[in-house]
Symmetry: C2
Subunit: 340 residues, 2 copies
DNA sequence: CTGAAAGCGCTTACAG
DNA sequence: CTGAAAGCGCTTACAG
């Protein structure tokens, strides 16, 4: 890489100032058309590479937006990410992605990196236990934030998430209307707002139907296919032989169905199972999964737009935006079957 | 955010020079211990944020490593990414992730961004059709590259990938040894080196066993669960009723098994199916999937190390590093069963 | 419509 | 062990 090519290289070669080159490359109307064309053509010809660090140091805008989630490999976040990506691409923002794996330290170190790079904003699904001070720190340092999926008590920023209590209610009511009485909730944790909301939704639906809620009908924890699979034995061994399971998400539901099948029972027939999220995979599972569509695409799109608005100086009020979930009925639920 | 805090803010407050502050914050032995401690403590107390853009402009190292793959949501890449992440974290490099979805334009625009940000290096699984000039452009502009999963003809950079021809041979031979004669290969494309290598491996294994290879025994295309599911009908309708399918990857295999089950046949009994990659999911599929472990973790780890070596000035010879795959036999394969 | 000059916030020889 | 000064490559008033 012979000699580093910079604005002044072009300016010198064409006998103009760097100011003119800078303006020309950014299509400023201040530059005469002929001059602009000459400059752009020359820049292209010699392979000029714009130095964004220098520009960003000067303008204090970096064109970088950070996105932090629990785990990008989780298909639920994957769908949110895809719609965020689409939205940000449109505004030519580069997006910097990171997993925090629910470790506060990882999340903090990423936020630190964003601050150091002068990122323009951040979209995050906060790690379990994120204190509102961590959110405030970003805002105080000029890094506007928007939350998705989970909220942080007391944080003064917009939040976009599904209406979890309502959504799990849809699944629970569906099972109740099919005639199920002994319904277990599998997965999730009280440590997240989402976890608390979903469990509440289940409890409320059961109580409204006049059904008792047994403490041992909650198997907390599982959030992955693997975990759903592993918990099948424990579920099937419950004394009072529940006939249905409301699962934390589609991954847990699919894992559980695999575990049920492995135990010689037929999911959807012997045991009814519901998921949550309506991932692409839900429709092709065996049996096809009855689940709750969680509006991932909307969450991502609306969060990205809210952030872009903030970047463009539009004031976005801190608020909780609840996306309404929808029940999608498929073959994994049916009338209850009593097991010997 | 009152007044921007910078090195000189600290220098002024403590009556030292910015040079001393800069050195102290980076633990330079040139600074007296007492001075260093005083500076670091003050920096922490007033909430100083290091400006990496300024530093990077000066030093021309950014601490950023780009990672580009087809699709981060694909579990195959997910596992590679996780091991890259672990490796880079250790060297305190920030990693900038992007999907190219096999669109050359997306890939180019990301590479451009990396060049503009002054990234230190890049690890990529090149998009279909990537010309070697695109790789050369990065190298010429001081952005060292390392390839994973796919190679680019003629590119002078290190490549880490599985031995695809050998690996698919393991799966094919396994089916042949069970007694299968009519074996179909489903998925993949000749447009990628991986696709060509895997099909070759299948053909070679068939021929070595003295079996004829029928052109219609190849159903190219599918690479996702959804696509595997959809192609089941076409597969089951083949005139000569093949008894087994060698699939492009685990996703296709799992989708196909779901499709077979939906058609009323029992995968693993009526039809033998093999996958490729050995994703976590393979072990919990119903039936558990016989598949080829593709060394994702090794690929990621070794690629990251090679790049870090290059960043540290160690010369890494361009070479093709083939990771040896292993066959993992489970329940999705068995003796052939002739269908009416 | 174009140019000369200052400045973004660091780091790095160099001098003492 | 510490400081004064130059410079990384841009952009932005300002002047003409």
């Amino acid at each position: 890489m012979a000699q580093k090519i910079k604005l002044s290289t072009i300016a010198d070669a064409l006998g103009v100032s760097t100011a003119t080159v800078s303006l020309a490359l950014r299509d400023s109307p201040l530059v005469a058309d002929a001059t602009r064309d000459r400059i752009k053509e020359h820049a292209r010809a010699i392979g000029y590479i714009y130095n964004r660090r220098a520009a960003s140091l000067r303008t204090s805008r970096s064109g970088i937006v950070g996105v932090v989630v629990h785990d990008i490999m989780n298909p639920f976040f994957a769908e949110i990410l895809r719609s965020i990506e689409t939205e940000l691409d449109r505004s030519r923002q580069t997006f910097l992605l990171s997993n925090h794996y629910d470790q506060l330290e990882k999340q903090r170190s990423f936020i630190d990196t964003l601050l150091q790079l002068g990122a323009d904003g951040v979209i995050m699904s906060p790690a379990i236990g994120t204190p509102r001070e961590d959110i405030q720190l970003m805002e105080d340092n000029g890094l506007p934030a928007v939350l998705v999926a989970r909220s942080v008590e007391g944080a003064q920023v917009p939040v976009f998430r599904g209406d979890d209590s309502y959504g799990i209610g849809l699944a629970t009511n569906h099972l109740i209307s099919l005639g199920h009485r002994r319904i277990v909730m599998i997965g999730g944790t009280d440590q997240t707002s989402t976890g608390r909301h979903r469990y509440q939704g289940y409890v409320i639906a059961m109580q409204k139907a006049g059904l008792e809620v047994q403490p041992h009908w909650r198997i907390p924890g599982p959030r992955t296919k693997q975990a759903g699979f592993e918990v099948a034995g424990q579920f099937l061994a419950l004394q009072d032989k529940p006939t249905a399971a409301v699962c934390w998400n589609d991954l847990v539901a699919i894992g559980l169905m695999n575990g049920i099948a492995r135990a010689g029972l037929v999911p959807g027939t012997d045991i009814s199972v519901t998921g949550y999220d309506d991932l692409e995979e839900a429709a092709i599972a065996t049996p096809a999964l009855t689940t709750v569509w969680n509006g991932q695409r909307d969450v991502g799109r609306r969060a990205a737009r809210a952030l872009l608005d903030r970047l463009n100086g539009i004031v976005v009020q801190p608020s909780q935006e609840l996306i309404k979930p929808e029940l999608h009925v498929r073959q994994s639920t049916g009338k209850p079957v009593e097991r010997g």
